[in-house]
Amino acid sequence: MLYLTIILGCILGAIVGMRGPIIPYTYSSYLAIAIIAAMDSVFGGISAVIKKNFDLKIFLSGFFGNAILSILLTYLGEKLNVDIYLAAIIVFVGRMFMNLGVIRRYYVEKWFGKISKRSNEENTKN
């Protein structure tokens, strides 16, 4: 269900995006950083769904808040001639890997049929 929705969303988004507008080059760096922030949020959301502690408010505020904050940081960096967006990318990509690790661990353990035994331990650990 989760992955079906994700794949469907991605395909639809790609199709609409192909027919969508072209943004000017000046703004493409902002869009790029927003994309990284959104990716971070999506992976965070997936891992939250897996961990069953998904909170819509936190998710949405994270999605838009992170994107806007990173865009602002990029803008500030451009004005100061410092590549601040690199810091945002490092944080986001680091978190992405963390969340991917959570997802991976979940499926590896599920695959080996240990999830039911471990779930109690996992819940206390996390």
């Binding site: 929705t5 991605c10 943004i23 999605f63």
Partner: protein
């Protein structure tokens, strides 16, 4: 039920995400991103390396051929019946054409900036027999292009400061430094000009190739 809601929202976010990604890809496809710029730069660097290697190879080849030619010329003039006068003529002509390294007394002028054409003109006017800028020999059809701050001699960019060597009689120095001459004006305008008179200046030979395709001798 809460989970379903979350899944839906994640689906919508994925939609937005892939929408953004495809817009971004489309927008920068033909444009130069940082990465594309770096790639282009690397490609250019590769090209420079390749070209310089090619150049060095060709230069070596040219040198080899020139040595061969020199040898052949020497042989030809040695074998000839009229050898003595022929070889003299030949070396004289080569000297005129700038095809031999020459040595003699003259001037070394170092200037930071300025119109090289005027300097060369003044030197020629004063009877210089051989002139080089940054060890590039000036020959009879040498061209000097002033393109803003970049000066090209026969298509080769010259680096600052310019070192002009000229071989000629003792009139050279006076002619170059006389009041109201170009060098004098440069000096007065507080540009760095350094002129040395020396007795043993070596000027290297012209390293290009003469190409005469249209001017033919008229046979009598």
């Amino acid at each position: 039920m809460k989970n379903i809601q979350g899944i839906m929202v994640i689906g919508i976010m994925c939609f937005l995400l892939s929408f953004g990604i495809s817009v971004q890809i489309k927008s920068i496809k033909n444009d130069s991103t940082v990465i594309a710029k770096e790639n282009a730069e690397n490609e250019l660097r590769d090209q420079v390396l390749e070209l310089s290697e090619n150049y060095n190879k060709k230069y070596d080849e040219l040198e080899e051929k020139q040595n061969k030619l020199d040898k052949l010329r020497g042989d030809a003039s040695n074998n000839s019946v009229l050898s003595e006068s022929w070889s003299n003529d030949l070396s004289k002509i080569n000297n005129y054409l700038g095809l031999t390294d020459v040595k003699g007394k003259g001037l070394i002028i170092e200037i930071e900036t300025g119109d090289l054409l005027l300097v060369i003109n003044a030197l020629n006017n004063a009877g210089a027999e051989a002139i080089s800028i940054n060890d590039k020999r000036i020959i009879f059809n040498s061209e000097i292009l002033n393109d803003g701050d970049v000066v090209q001699l026969d298509g080769i960019m010259l680096e600052k400061p310019y070192t002009i060597k000229a071989i000629g009689g003792s009139t050279l120095y006076g002619a170059i430094t006389m009041p109201e001459s170009y060098i004098d004006k440069l000096k007065k305008a507080d540009f760095k000009v350094n002129i040395q008179q020396k007795d043993d200046i070596i000027i290297k030979k012209y390293e290009g190739i003469y190409n005469f395709n249209f001017a033919k001798n008229i046979e009598n």
